[in-house]
Amino acid sequence: MDILGLSETVLRLIIGTIVVALFGIIFGLLYKGVDRKIAAHMQGRIGPPIRQPFRDIRKLFTKENVVPENAIPWIFNLVPLLGLVATISILIYLPIGGFSPIMSWGGDLILILYLLMFPSLAMIIGGFSSGSPYAIVGAQREMATMIAYEFPLAIIIISLAWKLTQVGSVNVFALSTIAGTPIWSNVTGPLGFIGFAILLLALVIVTPAELSKIPFDSPEAETEIAGGLLVEYSGRNLAMFYLTDGVKTVVMASIIVVLFFPYNLSALPLLGLEGGSYVAYAIDILFYLLKVFLVILFSVTLIRVAIARLKIDQIVYTYWVPLTLFSLVGLIFIMWDGWIMNLLGLV
């Protein structure tokens, strides 16, 4: 690679990173507002206005940033920042709307799986470093939750990649490959279809835990441990965690969209749009935002309104036994799919 190409890549990366960072923060907060509004309506309340999260952030920025005496100051202040930074960095690997990822060749699905751990890890270490018993209880619950949901999540990701390998794709973990070959068109028979549907359902159940939402919010559990791992945080540090939550919601919803619904509206021949025109991009972005909204509606808002909080050992059990078995069944269905179809002579 020559110097010119290199500097162009770096420039593209820098500008792209800034753009997705702003995108993530703004839409993260927006979706948070929408989520709160809908949840309130479901519970028969009026709820806060949609721009409430922005107001919350502004308020937090004017509050004092207290560092408790039992905390380790440098870790306590650093981790909220790092958590948010790592979450935003996931966005450069994800395709957003009709655009391909900014750095499609820089990282893959496994990297995203690991980067998704950073925000939780930041919260855990932040909770531990604040030195308050409530925060420590919350942090260890968050760690246990993280271990718990990572099992089904790993099964889902590996199953998808395995299926793509079977149909002869290369770079099966790359987001561009996954978006380019939608999984629903790769199934050979009904069994594979059911398998992927099971995996989608499992991923939808994993999402609230990944985002620490009810019913898997025992790390924060305001009613028993007073906000858990965030109990000692205030002011701008708390604002960082608030932003992380918003961005992570967008990231998680985008991942579900990429893995299971990577379709673009502008590709429809019905509309007769030229690929690459501004109208096409605008339509794709709008459609993408709609898909993200629907995912958040189903996997966050509906579940958190409908179900009460679980205890921590119930969370671990739920994810490790029923949900893992469930996703393994999905994996087995996918593995048997082609084989059974061959056996019946249907292919």
């Binding site: 770096v10 990366l13 990173t17 800034i18 960072a21 937090l60 920025f61 004017t62 004092e64 940033n65 207290v66 560092v67 408790p68 005496e69 039992n70 920042l81 948010l84 930074v85 790592a86 935003i88 960095s89 450069i92 750095m103 060749w105 820089g106 990282g107 893959d108 699905l109 496994i110 990297l111 030195g131 308050s132 018993p133 409530y134 420590i136 209880v137 260890q140 619950r141 760690m143 246990a144 271990i147 718990a148 990649a161 390998t165 290369v170 770079n171 099966v172 790359a174 007073a226 000692e232 002011g235 701008r236 604002a239 960082m240 205890k311 921590i312 050992d313 119930q314 969370i315 671990v316």
Partner: protein, 110 residues
């Protein structure tokens, strides 16, 4: 350049580090808009314990063995088995060697 290619995916640390540095600067600027100070040596810096008095420092520190209680409890059966397996008896170490040797011989030779 600098990209590990596995045939199924790739990983480029340099790209990620650049992205992280850019985002870090951005967020750091955003964060510095917030209020900085707080009142040291006041009640503010005490741990929040719902108004209860603070315990001595040793009691405020949860022991390592009690961490992850939720996780070990839900896998109690597995841990009982594992603890039973690790006897610490030298004879058992030899026994495990003989067992594995026997399994390998069974599969490989017979």
């Amino acid at each position: 350049m600098f990209t590990v290619e596995t045939g199924s995916g790739f990983w480029n640390p340099i790209i990620w580090v650049i992205a992280i540095v850019v985002t870090f600067l951005l967020i750091y600027i955003l964060r510095s808009l917030g209020k900085k100070g707080y009142k040291k040596d006041t009640e503010q810096v005490k741990s929040f314990l719902s108004g209860n008095p603070e315990y001595p420092k040793e009691k405020m520190h949860i022991k390592a063995s009690n961490l992850y209680w939720g996780f070990t409890t839900s896998l109690k059966g597995l841990y009982t088995l594992l603890r039973k397996m690790h006897t610490g008896n030298t004879s058992d170490y030899v026994l495990w060697f003989v067992i594995i040797l026997a399994i390998f011989l069974l599969v490989e030779v017979i």
